[in-house]
């Protein structure tokens, strides 16, 4: 797959001036819509996670007429619900030296200098309002005996800025947003469509004007038009088949928008989380993450000797390799996610992995239990130990846990400007579905922050500036009909193949290929191989997939087949993006670009830019570069030794 280079992106619409004044300036500059006019403006929000749920609720509160869509049976189920650890905010309630500037600084640095300074600063500013909002909604955050909010230090941060609700922070924040959304549904400002899947974007006269959706119960194809469309449809980690995402997470909404003209930015930036439960067999359907906090007390090791088949308890101390403590004496077991993940892969590649297939490393609590006592360990990690035992059947108090990295989050997504607007006017993208704030690597406890910042505070302001020029009138019937016909013919095509392989079998094969060639470590050779193999597999899919049932009923096989078809196209762009970016940065490690110690080596001279890809229906993708400038945080190479 080749590409051509297009014009660079020069303007992201961020106001100029001192960084701490930019968001204020934008808010003041944004046109307002008077309350009577808001009632005449329709907005479609797709997805009901933290970003989509909070955006739909807030737009409803402001008085817009909102339609909200989700594929689940209720908006309360979106995968934000599974986030365990917490949410960052620059409250500095501890007085430990935190500030908006420090959260901004940590996020830019943690993102390996591939995020925009203006956006990240705004995120840090808004972070404090999120906590206020959530508390007022009744989100039961952890508290101290004095009645004030508890915080913890998370993911190697040197300040204690992570607010949490036991190991279920995502659930509690999502339920807060869900309840706000249900309140608006009751008030009649939001109309909710559950079990509806977006299958295309309607673009008419150069503006996003609606969506084509399928009612997943009846199979009916419906058209919904509006004055603006907001996509909050999450990440695309399921391109790897096995990931920590929910089974239904998919790329279809953003991919179809990409095909309609929205640029796709940095698709190769994938976050691989180091502490997940390893694969147990071929039937594995998903991977389960265990909170990163386990690394605070667990020690990571593998046998010193290759192919050592002894039980962990039989391996004496001097025949164990605590490799993170050995290679990174300063940070030890607490090195950032990307480093811990790659180190695990390396020792397994050396043949020193443990468990089925040798794809696992030990996370051992023996010393912590010895030092703190079993009760103290149980108090801290009891629910995680229980979860581990439920899945593996092994008791981690007696036998060390086995862990292995798994795909967890995608930093890439649809390109948006400072207003969170894509390259299609009227199409806004929020939460994990956009690319904007995490650069090449997301810090722990920052995903919840970004989703809610976008949904409660940023989008509701910036979308007003766009809608102030509306309503945009009747939607060109031809554009709507064309989108509907495209959706119908694709469904017909999937059902007509009637081949010999299930959609899942193709998805598994694609996932393996992506994990192997575009996973934790990428090389020119592996990526070229993937780019050769993906089109072959896609061709086989369209020739040999078997979709049972009909289009006019609840048909989970058909749903799956449509999503897998889009994953093929996305996978190809991911590999191309990874191939072109010959540097290593954050979640993207190119083996050719490392220093003498095997650490990631950035190439700021060539790659300090966002890669925004334009779809071209017949020809080659067009690469637009958005240069990244760092006026406040000096670019440095990360070091954790």
């Amino acid at each position: 797959m080749n590409y051509v280079e297009g014009a660079p992106i020069r303007d992201t619409k961020a106001p100029a001036g001192p960084i701490e004044e930019r968001w204020e300036k934008r808010k003041f500059g944004a046109k307002l819509v008077n309350p009577a006019n808001k009632r005449k403006l329709n907005v479609i929000v797709v997805g009901t996670g933290l970003a989509g749920g909070s955006a739909a609720a807030t737009l409803g509160e402001l008085g817009y007429r909102v339609k909200s869509f989700c594929y689940q049976d209720t908006p309360r189920r979106a995968h934000s619900i599974a986030a365990q650890g917490g949410i960052n905010a620059a409250k500095n309630y501890r007085g430990d030296g935190d500030s908006i500037y420090r959260l901004f600084y940590d996020t830019v640095k943690g993102g390996d200098f591939r995020a925009r300074e203006s956006n990240v600063y705004r995120l840090a500013q808004v972070s404090v309002n999120i906590i206020d909002q959530a508390v007022a909604q009744g989100v039961p955050f952890a508290r101290e005996y004095g009645g004030l909010l508890d915080t913890r230090s998370f993911g190697g941060a040197q300040v204690s800025r992570t607010f949490y609700a036991r190991g279920q922070t995502g659930q509690q924040l999502l339920l807060g947003a869900y309840q706000a959304l249900e309140r608006q549904i009751a008030a009649g400002t939001v109309e909710m469509f559950t079990r509806h899947e977006m299958l295309d974007l309607i673009v008419a006269d150069g503006r996003a004007r609606g969506v084509i959706v399928r009612d997943m119960v009846t199979g009916e194809i419906e058209r919904h038009v509006a004055d603006a469309v907001v996509l909050a449809t999450g990440g695309y980690g399921n391109v790897f088949f096995l990931s920590t995402n929910a089974k239904g997470c998919n790329t279809t909404a953003i991919w179809r928008a990409h095909e309609r003209g929205a640029y796709f930015a940095n698709p190769c930036y994938t976050q691989i989380h180091p502490t997940c439960i390893p694969v147990s067999g071929e039937y594995q359907s998903k991977l389960t993450l265990m909170s990163e906090s386990l690394r605070n007390d667990g020690r990571v090791w593998v046998p010193l000797r290759k192919g050592d088949g002894r039980a962990p308890g039989d391996i004496p101390e001097d025949e164990r390799d605590y490799y993170l403590e050995r290679i990174y004496p300063a940070f030890g077991n607490l090195v950032p996610r990307d480093i811990a993940s790659r180190a695990a892969k390396n020792v397994c590649d050396e043949g020193r992995g443990v468990g089925p297939g040798g794809l696992g490393v030990y996370l051992d609590f023996r010393d912590a239990i010895g030092r703190l006592g079993r009760d103290a360990v149980e108090k801290k990690y009891g629910n995680l130990f229980e979860m581990y035992e439920r899945i593996t059947g092994e008791n981690p108090y007696d036998v060390p846990m086995r862990i292995y990295p798994a795909v967890h989050y995608t930093m890439g997504g649809l390109w948006v400007d400072y207003d969170l607007q894509s390259t299609i006017p009227g199409l806004f993208v929020i939460g994990e579905a956009n690319f904007s704030d995490h650069g090449a690597n997301r810090l722990g406890a920052s995903a919840l922050m970004q989703g809610l910042a976008d949904g409660y505070f940023v989008l509701p302001t910036t979308i007003g500036d766009y809608l102030a020029a509306g309503p945009f009138g009747e939607v060109d019937e031809e554009a709507v009909a064309a989108a509907e016909i495209k959706v119908r013919s694709r469904i017909d095509r999937l059902l007509a193949v009637n081949g010999t392989r299930t959609p899942d079998s193709f998805h598994r094969e694609l996932g393996k290929l992506m994990w192997e060639y575009c996973g934790m470590e990428r090389t020119e050779q592996s990526l070229r191989k993937a780019l050769e193999r993906i089109p072959e597999l896609r061709e086989e899919f369209w020739r040999d997939v078997k979709v049972s049932g009909t289009a006019e009923e609840l048909n989970q096989v058909l749903e799956k087949a449509g999503r897998v078809a889009d994953f093929f196209d996305l996978a190809e762009l991911m590999c191309l993006d990874a191939l072109v970016r010959t540097e290593s940065c954050g979640g993207h490690f190119r083996a050719e670009s490392q220093d003498a110690d095997g650490e990631a080596l950035r190439d700021d001279e060539t790659f300090a830019h966002v890669s925004a890809w334009e779809y071209s229906p017949e020809g080659e993708p067009v690469l637009h570069k958005e240069p990244l400038e760092y006026e406040y945080v000096k670019m440095t190479q990360r070091s954790y030794k």
């Binding site: 508390v135 249900e182 147990s280 594995q284 899945i391 010999t500 989970q556």
Partner: protein, 246 residues
């Protein structure tokens, strides 16, 4: 392991439905219950049969989307476990397993094991929230909350809305679900202004949806994957009575 499954098949709301028997072979004890059904479905698709429709999403026990009555027990016999977190090592080789959808009038069957739980959303719509528009909140530390209250509120707030409580209740009552939300918000200062009106509106909505009354059998809390305590129902009744006495 080799197993015999007796699965409820129902093509849609108008179909009467029936149990259908399937054999599944070479099941690994490390498989999850849903992975075992995935294996069955992969086979059914290739044989040209309609695979068994079931709801699922996160597969890590938190989204609340999955739920089946397994051998007569909502989410199966293992306590405090969602269907997706149930693993095959808890079944005997050669066993026969019956699998049915949630059965309650307010949860009509959509297809096979998939039911419509939108009644739960309408109960929340009636008042399961604090009315606080985005941007209007005071500083989070302006109102301290006793740690004990925050912890108890959290325990009630962990409800995942799966509906097992309704499926297990001989009366088809949604009291545990409704009481969990009422209790969560009743325990916090932020929930006080709307406390009584909330309880009244939610309980009335629950009744309007056709859920049965609570007779304290406790089946709900026994199957609840999050162990929501039964005394939340006492809190609900107390708030409801106060609201009606006003």
């Amino acid at each position: 392991m080799n197993l015999t499954l007796k699965v409820w098949r129902q093509s849609g709301p108008s179909d009467a439905g029936r149990m259908v028997t399937y054999r599944v072979e070479d099941v690994s004890p490390d498989m999850s219950f849903l992975e075992m059904l995935d294996v069955l479905n992969e086979r059914l698709i290739l044989e040209g049969d309609d695979p068994v429709a079931f709801d699922h999403d996160c597969r890590e026990g938190i989204c609340g989307m999955c739920g089946m009555v397994i051998n007569g027990v909502a989410h199966g016999e293992q306590r405090a476990t969602t269907t997706c977190q149930l693993h095959m090592r808890h079944f005997e080789d050669g066993a026969t397993i019956t699998i049915e959808p949630w059965r309650a009038a307010p949860f009509p069957v959509v297809k096979d094991l998939v039911v419509d739980r939108s009644a739960f959303d309408r109960v929340i719509q009636a008042g399961g929230f604090v009315s606080v528009p985005a941007g209007s909140a005071p500083d989070a530390h302006s109102i301290p909350v006793r740690k004990e209250d925050a912890d108890d509120a959290f325990d009630a707030a962990t409800c995942i809305g799966c509906g097992a409580c309704v499926a297990a209740c001989p009366n088809g009552s949604a009291s545990l679900f409704t009481a969990a939300k009422i209790t969560h918000l009743s325990l916090l200062p932020q929930g006080q202004p709307e406390r009584l009106s909330r309880a009244k509106a939610m309980v009335d909505q629950m009744d309007a949806e056709g859920f049965g009354g609570c007779t304290n059998t406790g089946e709900c809390t026994a199957v609840c994957p999050k162990g929501i305590p039964l005394d939340t129902i006492a809190q609900m009744n107390s708030d409801y009575l106060k609201a009606n006495a006003k």
